[in-house]
């Protein structure tokens, strides 16, 4: 991986800005839920911030992503506006989906966030379709499918990778391997040691990378994205990471190995990146400024969301079809 492209200082700072935003946002969601002000199922991406933050550095608003219920990090990394995010989490009309989609279905096509799905594996076939469209259009767009390690064992994964490999689509399949699918470990659900090994079966390169390492993740992602833009076809990236919380908020997480978890949290990638920036000479002030701005933007979005209206029941008849139901 020594031949991977490396992020420059500005890129690293930008990765940190996104990762910190995700981390702070996650902490805020959890606080708001615990305080009873926000009521929603919530799948925390804490611990997985670096993956989409480093990957999104090589994406534009024209590029597509499809992600999953545990996807606020993927969304925020790609620039999902906070007011529309919080409006949606709070079920308000100001939500990007007018409160109709919710936490598991965040969508913002204006910035290429096409689908967030609650069905394991289903981000892949749709992202494959978006990649097909990008190929037909021929403007160099790429399409990213985010999914978990558990999703790598469902049929849709297989069909999508074969189709993408066969058609040489500009797709990047990013498995965020956090070692758990709900209460089941990676080892208990997967017959292969490294998911990237499966790529060979679809005629595409596969790479396993430390997803919590911003440089490695940036490099692997940039390679894959450039490959896709150049018409050379898809890549499977297995990004190793860890889920700091249980599967869903409220989950007792007794099934998680305590030592393994403590170790992962001790190696929290977000403060680790912060330290790396400091070590590289980025001023504490600059970093603090980024963090402050993130905090303020989140706080403002939360307040705006709570102040906004809840949708009218007439919305049940709207957006079912193009024409409102009589």
């Amino acid at each position: 991986m020594s031949n991977y492209p490396k992020p420059d200082r500005a890129a690293l700072v930008e990765i940190y800005r996104r990762a910190d935003l995700i981390k702070q946002n996650d902490e805020k969601v959890i606080r708001e839920i615990k305080a009873g002000r926000l009521v929603t199922p919530y799948y925390s991406p804490r611990g997985q911030e670096i993956i989409p933050s480093a990957l999104s550095a090589s994406l534009t608003d024209e590029d597509y992503i499809c992600t999953i219920y545990r996807g606020t990090h993927d969304m925020l990394a790609k620039g999902f506006p906070l007011p529309e995010l919080w409006g949606e989490l709070a079920g308000r009309v100001t939500g990007s989906c007018k409160g109709k989609g919710g936490t598991m279905h965040l969508t913002y096509p204006a910035k290429g966030m096409m689908v967030t799905t609650g069905i394991v594996g289903s981000s892949l076939p749709i992202a494959t379709g978006l990649a097909w469209a990008a190929q037909l259009e021929g403007k160099g767009r790429v399409s990213v499918a985010y999914f978990g390690d558990g999703a790598a064992n469902i049929g849709a994964f297989h069909e999508s990778l074969n189709m993408a490999g066969l058609w040489k689509l500009p797709a990047i399949f990013v498995c965020q391997n956090n070692l758990y699918s709900e209460h089941t470990t990676f080892a208990d659900s997967t017959a292969v040691e490294r998911l990237s090994q499966r790529a060979a079966g679809y005629g595409m390169p596969g790479v396993t990378v430390d997803g919590n390492d911003p440089e490695a993740m940036f490099g692997a992602a940039k390679m894959a994205i450039e490959r896709a833009r150049a018409g050379e076809g898809p890549t499977l990236i297995e990004a190793l990471t860890y889920r700091f919380n249980g599967h869903v908020m409220g989950d007792a997480d007794r099934y998680m190995d305590k030592a393994e978890k403590a170790e992962a949290i001790a190696a929290d990638p977000v403060p680790r990146l912060r330290q790396r920036l400091l070590d590289a000479g980025v001023a504490e002030d600059e970093i603090a400024g980024i963090e402050r701005a993130n905090a303020e933007a989140i706080a403002a979005a939360v307040e705006a969301a709570y102040a906004a209206d809840l949708p009218d029941v007439a919305e049940l008849k709207r957006d079912v079809f193009a024409h409102e139901i009589a």
Binding site: V115, I119, P125, L130, V320
Partner: protein, 332 residues
């Protein structure tokens, strides 16, 4: 190839659909066709609805796929989100069972779940119908499943001209449309469609006017209803046959107007009767016309079993004109 068909001669459903696809692709280059075998230059697959399309429009827009129904529909959904209008083929209706997630949880719902930010203007073509000895996994009619799901439209033409017009309308429709084709009647010729015509989705057709009873039907069963109506007419019984053409949303106004006139209704479809589309229509009619009907609303569907193989069983499984006729006589 579509060009060789003269419009004045009768055409088959296969030819009509082939024309519709060719015309739509020629008019709008966002229209794409994908599915198993559709790239086959010689035949356009086993049945040939897509014959000639890959030669005419290229294998970029007419995309042969692996046997991967989830990926086929994912490809269609994704491409539609990006502004294309894909027509995806799921060869037989029984094979929708390997891709229901894509249809039900995504195609039908993305508009609503995104609060109207995205939508999925795809057409899903699929064929079905008993009669060819294909047994229990190749002939089911599952339209009731899809009619039960908000966000997807369901159409099922009974004749080539409607097939053409419904296909053109379905491709232009801003919502996902499931397009059901009956296989055993694929080769039956019928009046040629007017090139460029559209059949409005949601509008039924009075296939035969009558005053004594309303037969509500769609797809191939329309022919059986017409045959039954002929037989009844010999005895002076005038059955009105309504070919729904669109199953969801069904044309309530047309059906209600007819039953208002006749006071009697029989719903006929090839799907298993229990929990079929006939149940919804019967329930609605019985409610709306409470106290005004001259007879109970009857429903006719296939027997409550898988499609059987052996010919006598297969024949008995599917509703036949004689049974329809007998049912009508029973409520007169």
């Amino acid at each position: 190839m579509s060009e060789t068909i003269t419009e004045t001669k009768p055409v088959t459903m296969i030819q009509a659909l082939n024309m519709a696809l060719a015309d739509a692709m020629a008019e709008d280059d966002r229209v794409l066709v994908l599915g198993e075998d559709v790239g086959d230059k010689q035949e356009g697959g086993i049945v040939g609805v897509t014959k000639g399309l890959s030669s005419q429009f290229g294998t970029g827009r007419v995309k042969a796929t692996p046997i991967s129904e989830q990926a086929i529909l994912g490809a269609a959904i994704g491409a539609s989100l990006a502004g294309y209008k894909p027509v995806a083929e799921i060869m037989l209706m029984n094979f929708t069972t390997v891709a229901m997630d894509m249809i039900v949880n995504h195609a039908a719902k993305l508009r609503f779940m995104s609060g109207g930010q995205t939508h999925v203007p795809i057409v899903i073509r699929t064929m079905t119908g008993a009669g060819f000895g294909t047994g229990g996994q190749h002939g089911d009619y599952f339209e009731a499943w899809f009619a039960h799901v908000a966000g997807i439209k369901v159409v099922a033409p009974s004749n080539p001209a409607d097939g053409y017009g419904l296909m053109r309308a379905a491709i232009e429709d801003p919502d996902p449309v499931l397009f059901i084709e009956n296989m055993p009647s694929y080769w039956t010729p019928g009046p040629a469609p007017e090139r460029g015509s559209r059949v409005e989705i949601g509008k039924a057709r009075i296939a035969r006017a009558g005053s004594d009873v309303t037969l509500v039907t769609y797809s191939r069963a329309t022919n059986d209803c017409l045959a039954a109506a002929e037989a009844l007419a010999a005895d002076g019984i005038q059955a009105e046959v309504i070919d729904l053409r669109t199953i969801a949303p069904w044309d309530r106004a047309a059906v209600f107007a007819s039953v208002e006139k006749t006071g009697r209704a029989v719903i006929v479809h090839e799907a298993v009767r229990e929990h079929g589309v006939g149940a919804e229509i019967a329930a609605e009619l019985s409610d709306a016309f409470f106290g005004k009907l001259k007879a109970p609303v009857k429903r006719i569907g296939a027997a409550f079993c898988p499609v059987p193989f052996s010919k006598p069983l297969e024949t008995a499984f599917v509703p036949q004109a004689a049974g329809i006729e007998a049912t009508v006589r029973g409520i007169l």
